[in-house]
């Protein structure tokens, strides 16, 4: 069958997993039923467990779904410690349902797949050796990729039923009150892990910093936690986030960033009380710098900044240029520290951030978002999941969710080396073109023809050439040439869900 972004989906897999093809970005107003976890009643006096071995023995059985968060990113020690014990215990057929998988977890996941410990995976993304391993067909069942908002939705719906969540925290008391801000390996917001804490049947906290009871402020609460395990170290603080934020000096990135700023400032949304979200890439950070100046010059303040937060954003908060930071994760230490000290930086869970099946999520209130792309096609569909060789090397992240903003800007170079970014058809559709409003490249911009209003406000800016996206695609092809089409087998190695739980694309095994 084909879906509404013209992607051929595998009928057998779709019907076996009871999936619907993607139709529309419009969520509508359905009535839905959320699920609740089971609770093993106790007073809380005996939660402390001596070892990971003991807690795994008490909680994990063949065929279960287990989860982790990725807030430690590449400084994570918890995932590998727990998976080591689970593999050695000979447990089989687990579904791995972390908020995402980072590079430091790759070898362990591959070992767990080879051992039959893990037979299903759902994640925001995967990179490096694991992406390569899966793209070469080494996991029998297709990986399910979900956005951060979609993961929250799937957990609330019961599509992901977490039996045991193993959540590393830099502090906790003996009953499980914990936050992400105090201790050695701090990461700030626990946004993604809060879903697991609320919905998993069994919640295990792992910490290297046992605090006196009661530990506050408590992001994860004792009412949610079954076990607390003390370990020697939960993470490497130096690898959690990028260190001090350095602004890019790359002239191409600066050109793109200043053009993004021109687009924002000249859009109808740049007015007092507007809201925005940026990513963590070099161009996105530079946009924040340009935007700061434009806000000062025009005496405009933002009501909130959203999403993954970096220090340049919390600096704007401290300067009073942003009124609130709504923080689902922190990309650097500066942002993480700021959450501790500034009460206007609010920790939000993934559902509040981006779950479409909600009584209103933050992304629904978002005016402007700047997102990146590995590829964008002439229908404005965006790929952030598969590389130019067709191999999985990315993550949905909050891309689909934030793209529902009123002004969604994709910032991307026209070509990267010999690889065109603007292409006739993306390798994998992650975010549908219907959500994308403007593409900004170093050569100029393209406005989605569906946005006639933006054609008017942005069509004649000084120093910002406007092209059709077909023209930009041809410009890219003229530079790099026409690549030989990638070859895939019929085997489906992954499905990419849209944020409503329908399937927007399938990823196939690469042919080498």
């Amino acid at each position: 069958m084909k879906n509404n972004v013209n992607r051929e989906l595998p009928d057998d897999v779709m019907s076996a997993l009871d999936y619907k093809p993607y139709e529309t970005t419009n969520i509508g107003n359905p009535d839905i039923q959320r699920v609740a976890p089971s609770v093993h009643v106790q007073t809380g006096d005996d939660k402390l467990v001596d070892s990971i071995e003991d807690v795994v023995k008490a909680t994990v059985k063949d065929g279960m779904t287990i989860s982790f968060h990725h807030h430690f990113r590449n400084g994570d020690f918890v995932f590998n410690k727990v998976m080591r014990v689970i593999i050695d215990a000979g447990i089989k057929n687990l579904t791995l349902a972390p908020s995402s998988l980072t590079g430091v977890m790759n070898d362990m996941v591959i070992e767990a797949i080879k051992a039959g410990t893990v037979t299903n995976i759902t994640s925001s993304g995967m990179r490096g050796s694991l992406g390569d391993f899966v793209s070469h067909g080494n996991l029998k069942n297709p990986v399910i990729f979900r956005s951060h908002g979609d993961r929250a939705r799937a957990i609330e719906h019961g599509d992901i039923k977490i039996d045991v969540a193993f959540l590393g925290v830099p502090n906790a008391d003996k009953l499980g009150n914990a936050n992400g801000m105090d201790g050695k390996a701090v990461f700030g917001s626990l946004g993604y892990a809060l879903m697991d804490a609320q919905y998993a049947n069994k919640v295990v906290l792992l910490t290297d910093n046992l605090m006196p009871y009661p530990n506050t402020p408590a992001s994860i609460k004792q009412t949610q936690v079954d076990y607390v395990v003390q370990v020697d170290q939960v993470g490497d603080p130096d690898k959690i986030g990028s260190g001090a934020t350095r602004f890019t000096k790359d002239p191409k990135e600066l050109k793109i960033a200043s053009t993004v700023n021109d687009v924002i400032v000249n859009s109808p949304y740049f007015k007092d009380g507007f809201s925005f979200q940026t990513g963590s890439g070099g161009a996105a950070l530079a946009v924040t710098r340009y935007l700061r100046q434009a806000m000062i010059d025009n005496k405009i303040k933002a009501s909130f900044a959203l999403g993954g937060i970096t220090k340049p954003t919390t600096d704007l908060l401290n300067e009073g240029l942003i009124d609130r930071v709504m923080d689902v994760q922190d990309f650097d230490k500066g942002a993480a520290d700021s959450m501790h000290t500034n009460p206007k930086q609010q920790e939000i869970d993934a559902s509040w951030y981006a779950d479409p099946d909600n009584k209103g999520a933050m992304v629904d209130q978002l005016d402007v978002v700047i997102l990146s792309a590995l590829e964008i096609d002439t229908k404005f569909n965006v790929n952030v999941m598969t590389g130019s060789d067709g191999v999985i090397r990315g993550a949905v992240g909050g891309h689909q969710d934030a793209a529902t903003a009123k002004l969604t800007i994709i910032s991307a170079p026209l070509v990267r080396g010999r690889i065109a970014t603007v292409v006739p058809d993306v390798t994998t559709v992650v975010t549908p073109g219907d959500s994308i409003d403007v593409l900004v490249t170093e050569y100029g911009i393209a406005i989605n023809p569906k946005r006639k209003d933006l054609q008017e406000s942005l069509g004649h800016l000084a120093g910002v050439p406007v092209y059709t996206i077909d023209e930009l695609q041809k410009m890219a092809a003229a530079k790099v040439g026409t690549p030989k089409p990638l070859e895939f087998t019929d085997r489906t190695v992954a499905l990419v869900e849209y944020r409503d739980g329908s399937v927007i694309d399938a990823i196939h095994e690469v042919k080498d």
Binding site: D389, G417, G481, P483, L486
Partner: protein
Amino acid sequence: MEIKQTALAGTLESSDIQIMLSKGTDGITIDLESDVEKQFGDQIRKVITDTLAEFNIDNVKVKAVDKGALDCVIKARTIAVAQRALQTQDQPAWEAF
């Protein structure tokens, strides 16, 4: 024509290609390393082969390490390495451009 000496042109910077020519007896053999091999490998080989043909080099071993170079770069590096290998650098082969 055969080359006179082993020669090298280009760097390993991104968007460049480093090409080494050494003596061969088995026609033009190309050992190519490239991140875009799947999409552009054939095209890269074609540019190298066509450019070498303009120098009438028909027996040579080519070792190329590509970092995403465009065709114009590949051609320029091939001309440079061919002239060095033929020891004709002081007589630029304008017709090859």
